[in-house]
């Protein structure tokens, strides 16, 4: 059991690590959001793999479905925000959001 679990945990940690690095280093708003999506993939893989290793796939599946619904709602809101920011600042650069000027 532990071997299978370890195997999936290894890959989900790699996904989360890659996403976190991109969140810290990139400057394009859409790319930052792609990084958040990569982290979300790692988390859903972790949830389902843990359910699989513990013999609780059905419960893990229910949690993953909930997670995906929340993810879609988050993406829709965030992309609408990004479009509004673009209309306001005419750029997708995160550094231009550093000013609190109206």
């Amino acid at each position: 059991m532990t071997n299978t679990w370890y195997f999936y945990l290894f890959f989900s940690a790699a996904l989360v690590g890659a996403g976190l690095f991109a969140l810290l280093a990139k400057r394009n708003l859409i790319r930052l959001f792609i990084a958040i999506e990569v982290i979300a993939k790692g988390v859903s893989l972790l949830l389902l793999a843990t359910g699989f290793a513990k013999g609780n796939v059905l419960l893990a599946q229910a949690l993953v479905v909930t997670f995906i619904v929340i993810e879609v709602s988050l993406v829709a809101t965030a992309l609408a925000l990004i479009i509004n920011i673009y209309r306001h600042t005419k750029s997708l650069d995160i550094r231009k959001l550093a000013k609190l000027k109206g």
Binding site: R31, E37, S44, A60, Q61, I70, L79, A80
Partner: protein
Amino acid sequence: MIIQTALLVGLVLFSALAILLKDLLKAAISLAVASLLLGIVFFRLGAPYAGVFEISVVAGLITVLFILTIALTNTGEEVRESRLVNIVFPLFFVVFIVIDALVMKGLVQKIPALPAAAESGTFGDVLWKGRTLDLVGQIAVILAGVFSVLALFRKRDKHD
């Protein structure tokens, strides 16, 4: 196991490509391919409903939303990324994976095994009877998303 490993390696590679590729459209498409691979992994883990959701919603709907946003915000003016990132990222990633491989096994053995009750019934039973509150929460989250998008795209008043 070999197919599963290949799928997971492909998932990590396409996710890394989505972060590294310069063209945003290509990045969005490689994210969709990663979602597709994750959906297949879900199928093979015995979770067909999660797989269907992952493929149809994440690989389909979210990619469409991403491409729409990229099209709406496209002026040709690229955001200048730091060049150092593209050099540092592969290095960081390799180091991270090595540390991951060394540390994760020890970490997993330290997690106490929680008692897992045997599951009975179907996915529908578990979702509708066991996680009813989650479904109410899902409805609330979807409504919140809809209202926030409506609020963000409302027409501006003339005196604004």
